[in-house]
């Protein structure tokens, strides 16, 4: 069964009174340092704080090396901060959890499993497959993968693989879905297609979404809030509310204006220097 709320889809999600909803992910004064080959410390994240409320769509945007992926990995529990704290549902994050799904840049489907087995993986791993067996077909259909159940990942297109990876995470009904440039490796048509799919799934599940991207259009098109980050040391320089109702029109005046505002802040944030480190 999918938690499908009829009333939700008709409402412009961005116009929700976000303040009233509980905080799902809270990042408090987090610092994360890495060492390069020569042993020099690189501050990937410097005293970063961020709160994400339930059902919100937040994009982290910034040039390579600004620590946006590092932040996402910390929220996922794949990595630990040197100082500061990350709370998920008010509890400190100590490791990964199926409550916080993660979609990688490369779809990362298990190549030795069929599309269907990949989508069913979370259910089987958590031992709930017997009760929820019928969900697999439902989620595959949502991802537009009907007829490809028996295909192996290398036999399907990149866009299909990412859609499969999306529902593979969503079938666990996570509270938050962390998306690490899931559309970065796709061509622009497939990317737009996947953006629509992502919006559709977000609005039907109400899952909190945190998206890492370097595409300003994508961030403005999808998000309630856009978080602009700057590199060395990785910091949040600005958070912009995108108070425009869904569905958004990419060529509307308001969209173009919002986009330009983000772009302007982006440049003001000094996102110019050449990339030396990619984290």
């Amino acid at each position: 069964m999918i938690d499908y709320d009829e009333t939700k889809t008709d409402l412009p999600v961005g116009a929700f009174p976000a303040v009233a909803l509980p905080v799902v992910v809270e990042v408090k004064n987090v610092t994360r340092e890495f060492r390069d080959d020569r042993g020099n410390g690189i501050v990937a994240l410097d005293n970063v704080s961020l709160s994400v409320r339930q059902g919100e769509f937040v994009s982290l945007i910034g040039p390579s090396g600004c620590g946006k992926t590092s932040l996402l990995r910390l929220i996922a529990g794949l990595d630990e901060p040197q100082s500061g704290e990350i709370l998920a549902d008010g509890e400190p994050v100590t490791g990964t959890s199926h409550e916080r799904g993660y979609v990688f840049q490369q779809a990362n489907l298990f190549p030795w499993k069929t599309v269907e087995e990949n989508v069913a993986f979370g259910l089987k791993a958590r031992g709930v497959y017997a009760q929820r067996r019928s969900d697999v077909a439902e989620y595959l259909e949502m991802a537009g993968l009907k007829g490809f159940e028996r295909a192996y990942p290398h036999q399907i297109s990149g866009g299909m693989a990412q859609r499969a990876a999306l529902v593979r995470s969503l079938i666990n009904r996570p509270k938050a879905l962390l998306l690490d440039e899931p559309m970065g490796a796709l061509d622009s048509f497939t990317r737009m297609d996947l953006q629509e799919k992502l919006l559709e799934l977000w609005q039907s599940f109400g899952t909190t979404m945190i998206l890492v991207t370097h595409d300003i259009d994508e961030a403005v098109y999808l998000s309630d809030r856009v978080v602009i980050m700057t590199p060395r040391p990785g910091r949040i320089s600005e958070i912009i509310d995108i108070a425009s109702p869904f569905p958004r029109n990419r060529s509307s005046a308001i969209f173009v204006e919002l986009r330009n505002r983000v772009l302007e802040k982006f440049h003001l944030a000094g996102a110019e220097p050449p990339v030396e480190y990619i984290i």
């Binding site: 996922a76 990964t96 799904g101 990362n108 791993a125 666990n172």
Partner: protein, 312 residues
């Protein structure tokens, strides 16, 4: 259609070899019927394939591609036969002709069959034990840092020692010659399987484990569903390498004190200066080895169906 003449070349040398064998009288006392039977069978086989190829298509292309090689083998049969049994140019008993080898294979077929079974039994026992033990220790070494720390250096040192060099030690430890031979075959199969398996697991993309963990998999579940299936290609690379090494260990260990098997048979035949039997055993060994490799390949292709068409 310019290749279709090659189809004739696939069949004609066998027919010519058969004709020359019948027409030229041998210089030694020999039963040539088994060799003639083989040549007749091969003539019929390639003749039938040539007729079937008249319909064209991929079947005909396959025959055209192979025809030159098949024909060349027929030419070798004919020349070899003429140089040995028919004229005595090649010195006997060291270089018997194909007809003599076929004569032995036919006459001693039951002895060969029994020795084949002996070798197969030894191979099955030793190889199964070696690859099972190899994949288990490879999985442990690849999966766990602690096992890797303690066992990997030992494996690297022990693995390069040829199993045959361990004969004195194994003979002391094992109760009889059969179990000694099994242990030697197992040891020689163990190393390549363990080594490639460990490396295979270590080279699996880290993000597969991260994805699995986030989806809710426990360590043990990841071992079963990510590490082991991800290492299967490497395990089979190891098994293929191990097959050759294990087979040579098998033959050598049969030569030192076994009471049956193709290695034992070769030793026995050499003692009697019966070189035709030695060659016969070598031919049988080759056929046996190719069959084993084909069977292993068949299993591999089934298990790795997910890789089909995947370019890495």
């Amino acid at each position: 259609m310019k290749h279709s003449y090659w189809r004739l070349f696939a069949v004609l040398p066998y027919a010519a070899a058969l004709a020359s064998n019948i027409l030229i009288p041998p210089v030694i006392e020999i039963d040539e019927l088994p060799f003639r039977g083989l040549l007749a069978a091969l003539t019929a086989y390639f003749g039938t394939r040539g007729l079937l190829a008249l319909r064209g298509g991929p079947y005909a292309e396959a025959l055209d591609r192979g025809a030159r090689f098949y024909g060349a083998v027929g030419v070798v049969f004919m020349v070899w036969d003429v140089l040995s049994s028919k004229t005595g140019v090649l010195p006997l008993p060291f270089f018997p002709g194909p007809a003599q080898i076929m004569e032995v294979m036919f006459r001693e077929r039951s002895a060969h069959a029994v020795n084949c079974l002996y070798s197969l039994r030894l191979f099955a026992a030793g190889f199964a034990a070696g690859s099972l033990f190899g994949s288990v220790s490879g999985i442990l070494i690849g999966w766990s840092d602690r096992w890797h720390y303690w066992l990997f250096p030992i494996m690297k040192v022990v693995g390069v020692i040829p199993a045959i060099a361990l004969v004195p030690l194994v003979l002391i430890v094992m109760p009889d010659t059969f179990s000694t031979a099994v242990a030697l075959v197992a040891i020689s199969a163990w190393f390549p399987v363990a080594f490639t398996t460990a490396r295979g697991i270590r080279s699996i993309d880290r993000t597969y484990f991260e994805a699995a963990r986030i989806l809710g998999a426990s360590d043990f579940y990841m071992l079963r569903k990510i590490a082991i299936p991800g290492a299967v290609p490497a395990i089979f690379t190891g098994i293929s390498t191990a097959t050759g090494i294990a087979f040579s260990t098998l033959v050598v260990s049969e030569m030192i004190g076994a009471r049956g098997g193709l290695g034992y048979y070769i030793n026995l035949a050499m003692g009697w200066m019966n070189y035709a039997s030695v060659y016969a055993a070598i031919v049988i060994m080759a056929i046996l080895f190719i069959s084993v490799l084909t069977a292993i390949n068949g299993i591999k292709n089934r298990l790795l169906a997910w890789q089909k068409g995947l370019i890495k």
